[in-house]
């Protein structure tokens, strides 16, 4: 069977000798070949397992969250959880209405979005449509630094720098308040908002722009009537992703927004978000296994579902604009 492989070397005729004038020999026995195949197979399997870790992680998240959450809903009706407006699981008279936490989360996220979206979008427009390449190559990395700063640092900044300023302007501002956390969070999200929007703006084909310029449009008109509308689904994706980031952000709110579950929209007051609640319980001495402890998994599940839906949605939008121009 193996004549093909060994023939030229097994019978060293004068011919074959002439084939190897230099007299060095490659080890290529059948055993080597077998061993090599074994190595190849095992490497393949090992690498595959590395890739499968991602599926296991997702599965792990779902199982961990759902396991505790299902037990939680055995004790607290799901309707009470989703519609109740009082959240006092750590007190003697317990109430498990999650809406105050959701309220706090949404209000902080809204403030952050109001800061991040216009500034981020305008930054993206400046970088992609106005800035010369040199300037862009300086500004972009500096903005990226904002994205790399740990969130605990932003928390400190919100509490120690922004809050005192706010209190100077509005004396009724509480020490822990939504506005300060939201504003700072907006700047944290800004680089992501700007960079995804910029990608979307750049994906708008050049001939579309040139067509508009050729009709005598000013740069502003080209940007506002051709480029931004053309990039709209990508920009929308950036907005949704920013909201998702804001909802999942933890340390800024845990430090600067306070720990009081509240309904309402008063930005100068303290509110508790879903993430801050999880931190609050984790820091305390809540016994593991009790109902109070399970609340963090129930809240975590809600958080996971909310961000997952938004991430998938934004993924869909990004794919749409890629399809449109490729």
């Amino acid at each position: 069977m193996n004549n093909w492989r060994s023939a030229p070397r097994a019978q060293p005729t004068a011919d074959a000798a002439a084939h190897q004038p230099d007299g060095f020999e490659l080890a290529s026995s059948r055993r080597d070949s077998l061993r090599r195949k074994l190595v190849e197979r095992s490497v393949h399997v090992v690498l595959f397992l590395c890739a499968v870790i991602s599926i296991l992680t997702t599965t792990g998240i779902v199982i961990t969250l759902l396991g505790e959450t299902i037990q939680f809903f055995g004790e607290v009706p799901i309707v009470d959880f989703l519609t109740g407006t009082r959240w006092t699981p750590l007190f003697a008279s317990k109430s498990f209405g999650v809406l105050p936490l959701v309220n706090g989360t949404i209000v902080v996220a809204l403030v952050a979005i109001v800061v991040a979206v216009p500034i981020g979008l305008l930054t993206a427009i400046f970088l992609s449509e106005f800035a010369p390449a040199r300037l862009r190559s300086v500004v972009k990395p500096i903005l990226e630094v904002l994205a790399g700063i740990p969130t605990v640092v932003y928390g400190y900044f919100a509490l120690q720098f922004v809050t005192p300023i706010l209190r100077g302007i509005f004396p009724q501002t509480q020490i822990f308040n939504v506005a300060s956390a939201g504003i700072v969070m907006g700047f944290m999200i800004l680089p992501m908002m700007a960079s995804i929007s910029e990608d979307a703006l750049r994906a708008v084909p050049r001939d579309l722009r040139e067509g508009a310029f050729a009709l005598g449009a000013t740069r502003f008109e080209v940007v506002s009537r051709v480029v931004v509308p053309g990039a709209l689904s990508g920009i929308l994706a950036a907005v949704i992703l920013s909201i998702s980031r804001a909802i999942g952000e933890t340390m800024i709110v845990a430090i600067a927004a306070g720990l009081q579950p509240q309904m309402g929209f008063d930005l100068l007051r303290s509110m508790e978000t879903m993430t801050a609640y999880i931190v609050q319980v984790s820091l305390g001495d809540t016994p593991q296994g009790g109902i109070e402890f399970r609340t963090i998994f129930a809240v975590g599940t809600l958080l996971f579902v909310m961000t997952l839906v938004m991430n998938l949605l934004s993924d869909l939008l990004v794919r749409r604009y890629r399809e449109a121009y490729e």
Binding site: S54, T64, P150, G155, Q160, S282, G300
Partner: protein
Amino acid sequence: MSARATAAVPSPDVWRASQARRRWSGWLFYGLAVVSTMMGLVMLGALLFDIFTDGARQVDWHFLSNYPSRIADNAGLRSALLGSLWMLAFTAIIAFPLGVGAAIYLEEYAPDNWLTRFIQLNIANLAGVPSIVYGLLGLGLFVRWLALGRVVLAGSMTMALLILPLIIVASREAIRAVPDSLREGSYALGATRWQMVRQTVLPSAAGGILTGTILALARAIGETAPLITIGALTYVAFDPNGPLDIFTVLPIQIFNWVSLPQKEFHSLAAGGIVVLLVVLLTANSLAVYLRYRMQRRLQ
């Protein structure tokens, strides 16, 4: 000079007026864009200025080598620094091979089928999961189910899962940048696939892979929430000495000091932040340097 003629040829006045408005709105918009871009930069400047004025004078050898204390003057970062180091080392040991392995699989081995697409979808979504959810995963899986307790290893495994998507994405990009002609050249010499990957693809992609890994690890150094969730302590007055020791990390120590009402501790927090930022800056410079070297080598 009928009415029809005037309508057909608008008077130059009309043009000039609208032209002025167009130019004016253009400049306004340009101004807005510039100001917006400046705002991000100004904010960054304010943040760094605020922190360094509060914190820089805190940082000295005493601060780095002392344990935390209830007395602000005696307090230091020692246990937090050591904890961060241990946590980081094990995170790297776990996440690097797994991440690079997954990237190699997806770029060089994976067939184009539903399973591969499912893996890719998973990785994309994991990158968007809030970090605190990873904390809950670590709490449920490593701390309680594996019964590791609130130790360095549990924190490292949690962090490894958190940064895995970042490493995979960066490594895949680096591997994809290796030209196919090198792969063909390698195959044509009788290399097996793994030999080709190990000797041709990986050396060429090493710079990009390392850069991505360093940036991912920098992210791990700064993460707080997942470690709080798995129950890392906030007050540790001893050295962690291995993967199975209880620990705290820099950002948790900072968080702890920020949360105390006394002003002295806020300065300590600022000092801790200065240390943290210096560490991150070093890591980032290293990554930038590696990227630069890689670009030069490819030219």
